[in-house]
Assembly symmetry: C2
Homo-oligomer: 284 residues x 2
């Protein structure tokens, strides 16, 4: 049994602990999460441990990145379980602020990122990335880590965060971690807990369709053909509606102008399965 | 003759100097400016010197806080003169980044503050405070000072900056400095250089009208009466158009709901005099 994980709930306590570690010359890693932890999160903690002497995980279900009809209230929460998993993964501190600590009375600031935050989930979830950008900036300025680790599972989010860290001159290295998957290919996600047994059987078709699309691109199919085939595969499997299934520039998330990609490729998809919205992406 | 002021133009050089000072345990003060320095700016440097062992002044004419029809191109510039004035005031370092250093290719981030940034200059100059908030956040994250000093001359800007520093958890103390004035009451401003000799004679009427309004409020006049009288006085003096002449809550910049103020008062005014836009404000 690992020792219980220390928990802090205020910026002042967080900074006191970070200052103590820093005065001993220790590098600090941060793994921001919304809790409901799974093996994917724990792989981020492990990655951070390889880059920093001390690893802090934050758990904060950020209300401002949920739309009015999204699952903020239903989002799974369980701090005791999260803390035990983090302790087992070698995390040193859990930062679990309240909503009042993050957004005190009078809070009035929003950070918008143009470009990478606009298409895909930016179009499907208005305001989502402004909420993400604002809370992640706060977590980074509150913690002042040397390195912060985010999963490629939320690939567009990772690009948004890289952009804001660069644009706001935050002295932190942003590290992307490969998506952790179930043996059948389904990307691990806290929202997988919403899936019925039948939907869980269907869910791996999302990753399969993305892999198939990569193969078709390699065969020389056009972007349009590949996207149409991918959407059709998802519909056949039982997904719907499909928010997007797209071949995009991996750095800018722009569409390619020609029929075939002429730059680094990322394939990204988002679709409903029953009442659950699943997203996934892979390199092209 | 003071020694020439060291100048740095990149974030990396700035951080190297700040890190060296910090490793000697010295507190750092920052005075952000747009150059074209006058006694008002130098009073900010002096105030910073009272609170920090090392004082950095930044000079950056920030394009994103000027509207398309404003005076970005015409804004007065003169680095050699600014550097000499700063050296004489005991400043330790001039940070004068290029626009490319502040906004490199691909820059995509905007910080918006709701509430205090919306009325008055926020209404008269769309996008102005988003430009201010974004560049000041960058200057604060680039420099990481212990204290940053801003003039009350730009009172609404000061409130916007206090808000963003608090909301984004920037570990810096924001200090407001009293407005420096000419003997006839005119607030010192780089834009006063635009005034013709005749307009310079008229300009002190702005401060006089604000002082008169404070006296009228003290006599028990209503907010509406005071504002009407103030606008009329400016028009009589030769100002026009008048963007605003208003009695506002000093903390929120909201209007008072009743006929007379029931909280801390700030009187703020902005008006054209010839082709020059002047602003001023005083405590009520």
């Amino acid at each position: 049994m690992p020792a219980p994980l220390p928990v802090v709930r205020t910026v002042a306590e967080l900074r006191a602990q970070v200052a103590a570690w820093r005065s001993s010359g220790e590098r600090i890693g941060l793994v921001p999460t919304m809790g409901a932890l799974h093996e994917g999160h724990l792989s981020l903690v492990e990655l951070a441990r390889g880059q920093a002497a001390r690893v802090i995980a934050s758990v904060f279900v950020n209300p401002t990145q949920f739309g009015p009809n999204e699952d903020f209230d239903a989002y799974p929460r369980g701090e005791a379980r999260d803390a035990a998993l983090l302790a087992g993964a070698g995390c040193d501190l859990l930062y679990a602020p309240t909503a009042d600590e993050m957004y005190p009375q009078g809070f009035a600031t929003t950070i918008n990122i143009s470009g990478v935050s606009e298409p895909l989930d930016g179009a499907a979830r208005p305001g989502h990335f402004a909420g993400v950008a604002t809370v992640v900036t706060k977590l980074l300025t509150q913690t002042a880590p040397d390195v912060a680790v985010f999963g490629e599972k939320d690939y567009q989010q990772l690009l948004v965060i890289r952009r804001l860290a660069r644009d706001l001159d935050l002295p932190v290295e942003i590290v992307g971690a490969p998506t952790a998957r179930a043996p059948d290919g389904l990307a691990l996600s806290s929202r997988n807990a919403y899936l019925s047994a039948a939907a869980r059987e269907v869910a791996p078709a999302l990753h399969a369709a993305l892999r198939d699309a990569v193969a078709r691109l390699a065969e020389g199919k056009t972007v349009e053909q590949v996207e149409l085939t991918g959407r059709a595969a998802l519909e056949r499997a039982g997904f719907g509606p499909i928010d997007y299934f797209e071949v995009r520039n991996a750095e800018t998330l722009r569409r390619f102008e020609g029929a075939r990609p002429d730059g680094p490729v990322r394939l990204l998809a988002a679709a409903r399965l029953g009442r659950t919205r699943l997203i996934d992406n892979i390199a092209g």
